[in-house]
């Protein structure tokens, strides 16, 4: 059981682990990552669009591409990442115990996770919400018709809590069928052991297109919660958090500015000073402040393209999942994706 193994491992690490001293100024985690020669990135064990393995055995997905960009920023090599598949139940323990350097596992940013679980969220890379998927022949068109339904739900998620609150608010009853991960939920749902499967709407869309007959299934229109997803690191190493946060911001700024994977080399003569700072083509070397090479963000964007390209390749039309950008569009295009200035 992978889950128990992690619990044990992390407990042992907590008990025996050397007393790593976090200090300001430079990042201990960055030093560890550099010494190791690769980045340990915690991802989902299989969420289509976010983190899966393709036919050739390569890790692909929205979260995967973020980690590749981060690895490219540090090493100049997007492949210098080791992906660690984590179920929703073990992810925080694994991060706290240092089994991964960063968690990019479509994780919702909440107050208690930020404070009580002692984690630092680096930003929001996907504004999501919880939805429900049903089989069309169930004849249900709204979540409010789900009174008495059996619901497949991944344990240890915010969706589990939203589900309880939503059904209670609306005076409906339900029977939860707890599952370990997306794959198990999907199997239970297909076998008819539950009437509906609930999780983040993006994951539902991703799951639906990979089903045998996607048209037999329906993602209900209601979104019952706010699920801002983003990468996170453990408390205590602010410099490491800064690095992760600004790699994410760099990808978002690149889309704003129109810098893409293919045209990234054509900006040398631009008059936009922010682009020079971002790509390291100017005189200032502001990335030295966080211990990264001058062309770190250039490498990060070069790895998988800007935010828009990563979205399109993994979740948008190119991927076949066909999720609209919606609120996840750049603020310049009517969305709420907005990065602080790179200065």
């Amino acid at each position: 059981m992978r889950k128990s193994l992690f619990m044990v491992l992390s407990s042992i690490l907590l008990i025996l682990g050397g007393q790593a001293a976090f200090s300001g100024g430079h990042s201990v985690t960055l030093d560890d990552v550099k010494a190791r020669g690769n980045l340990l990135c915690g991802v989902s064990t299989g969420a289509p669009g976010f983190a899966t393995v393709d036919d050739s055995g390569k890790d692909v997905g929205f979260d995967v591409d973020y980690c590749r960009a981060l690895a490219a920023a540090i090493f100049g090599d997007p492949m210098a990442v080791k992906f660690v598949g984590l179920t929703s139940a073990v992810r925080f323990t694994a991060l706290a115990a240092g089994e991964v350097d960063i968690l990019a596992r479509n994780t919702t940013w909440t107050y208690s996770r930020d404070t009580d679980l002692k984690q630092t969220f680096l930003g929001v890379n996907y504004y999501d919400g919880q939805g429900f998927m049903v089989k069309k022949d169930l004849g249900v068109n709204s979540t409010l018709e789900l009174d008495g339904a059996t619901v497949c739900i991944q344990v240890g998620t915010t969706t589990e809590l939203n589900l309880a609150d939503y059904f209670k608010e609306n005076g409906m009853s339900y029977e939860p069928v707890p599952t370990a991960d997306n794959a198990e939920s999907q199997q239970q749902y297909l076998a008819g052991a539950c009437d509906t499967y609930t999780t983040d709407a993006s994951a539902l869309h991703g799951t639906r297109v990979n089903l045998e007959n996607p048209d037999d299934h329906l993602v209900l229109p209601e979104i019952i919660s706010k699920e801002p997803l983003g990468p996170l690191v453990r408390h205590g190493d602010d410099n490491w958090a800064d690095i992760g946060r600004w790699v994410l911001n760099a990808l978002i700024i690149a889309e704003e500015k129109g810098i893409t994977k293919s045209n990234i080399d054509s900006w040398k003569d631009t008059k936009d000073a922010e682009i020079h700072r971002l790509l390291g083509t100017g005189d200032d070397d502001i990335l030295a402040m966080v211990g990264l090479p001058k062309n770190a963000m250039y490498n990060a964007i070069k790895a998988g393209g800007n935010y828009g390209e990563i979205f399109e390749n993994n979740l948008g039309a190119t991927s076949g999942i066909n999720i609209e950008r919606g609120v996840n569009a750049s603020w310049t295009k009517g969305g709420i994706l907005y990065s602080p200035p790179f200065r």
Binding site: T93, G148, V155
Partner: protein, 405 residues
């Protein structure tokens, strides 16, 4: 010690603590104890320091906070507004339920299989060997997942029971529904007067026990056996049936019926519970069967031959001569199998059964981030339950061991 204690003279040197056999044993024990205590304190200290570095403290206050999640199988009232502590308790009861039902089935099944494996009937003996080897040599987790998959994939969904010409029908006069979400049984409803009915039933049982004891006593004294089976059956059934109609049918059955998405009412045994209990019982019964076989084989052949020469029938030989002696050998290793079953029940998470590992050690741990506290509580719980089980069975074991005078 007094005799060997050295007189306080110059002859005692510090090195004698290790070299002198009079002191060596004690001093080595003292040294080991000091090292043990030191390592223990170092571990605790290091843990607390590491937790402090992560900005975490050790606190059990989370047990009194609102849990916020729902649990499907609840033996006591519980809602998402209840506390994490209560959620843990719901989980504990679920664990104990699986352990109890599992141990019961495993024992009955193991006893039968173990005895049948010694059968002179070639086919029966071989079939039992296959059963034992099959279950004993495959990890129990695989059996749990396998049975669960069978239960969910090959049973009809509740929807199949709908319509004028349904694909699936309920069994036994529309009282039992087997679905891929579990099996629904009629539930008893205790109406007015059911107390008196139960009382009369319990009284009949007490009378039967008394009669049987008396018959046993008579048999031991006179050697004549009094058949009590039919008398017992009559004493239990007749008054109960009489009272049942006299009191106007106080106990009725509540049948499950299809409403909306699922069956309503009745007793709902979820597939997760069925799969877990069944797999654990089948798996453990294979071990128990081997213990039973070993216990029976350990009784010397002369015993059964002597019994046979007295003219006892084979089943009497087994019940009166062999089993009572074999039990003395069987019970001690039985304890460890009960403990194994109880601890193996923590694999429940594989099929989403909400035992204590699933509530306290799963969802609560995850939502609160209290890994260390939750794990310590879990370990404490399993430790207590295991010690309790072994002490109860040890007590039982002592009651029929040969009394040494």
């Amino acid at each position: 010690m007094k005799a060997s204690a050295p007189p306080k003279s110059e002859s005692f040197k510090l090195s004698m603590l290790l070299s002198d056999t009079r002191y060596r044993g004690t001093s080595l024990q003292v040294i080991t104890f000091i090292i043990f205590v030191a390592v223990f304190f170092w571990l605790v200290d290091n843990t607390i320091k590491n937790l402090a570095l992560l900005g975490k403290d050790v606190s059990f206050n989370f047990l009194f906070l609102r849990a916020g999640y729902d649990i499907n199988q609840r033996l006591i009232p519980y809602t998402s507004d209840s506390t994490h502590g209560r959620a843990a308790f719901v989980g504990i009861l679920n664990t104990l339920l699986v352990a109890l039902v599992g141990c019961l089935f495993a024992t009955i099944l193991g006893l039968f299989v173990g005895i049948l494996r010694l059968s002179k009937n070639w086919l029966v003996a071989k079939l039992m060997s296959i059963y034992i080897e099959g279950f004993r040599n495959v990890p129990v987790l695989l059996w749990i997942v396998m049975i669960f998959a069978l239960l969910t994939e090959f049973t009809p969904a509740p929807k199949a029971f709908k319509g004028a010409d349904p694909q699936a029908t309920m069994l036994l006069f529309d009282s039992i529904a087997i679905t891929n979400r579990g099996t629904y049984f009629p539930a008893p409803i205790f109406g007015e007067g059911s107390f008196w009915l139960l009382l009369s039933f319990i009284l009949s049982v007490i009378i039967v026990i008394f009669i049987r004891k008396n018959a046993n006593k008579q048999k031991k004294e006179t050697g004549k056996s009094f058949p009590t089976f039919w008398i017992s059956v009559l004493i239990i059934i007749l008054p109960t049936l009489g009272f049942y109609f006299l009191l106007g049918k106080p106990i009725s059955l509540e049948y499950p019926y299809l409403k909306g998405f699922n069956f309503k009412d009745g007793i709902h045994l979820r597939n997760s519970f069925l799969a877990l209990t069944l797999a654990l019982a089948l798996y453990t019964s294979a071990f128990i069967a081997e213990i039973v076989r070993a216990g029976i084989l350990a009784i010397s052949k002369g015993q059964s031959e002597a019994a046979a020469s007295l003219g006892l029938r084979p089943n009497k030989i087994m019940n009166l001569i062999i089993l009572p002696q074999a039990l003395r050998i069987i019970v001690p290793p039985l304890i460890s199998n009960y403990l194994n079953l109880t601890k193996n029940s923590s694999l429940a998470i594989a099929v989403g059964y909400m035992d204590v590992r699933g509530t306290l050690g799963g969802i609560t741990l995850n939502q609160t981030g209290r890994e260390l506290e939750s794990m310590l509580l879990l370990m404490g719980f399993y430790l207590c339950v295991s010690l309790l089980i072994s002490s109860v069975i040890n007590y039982y074991n002592r009651s029929f061991q040969i009394v040494v005078r």
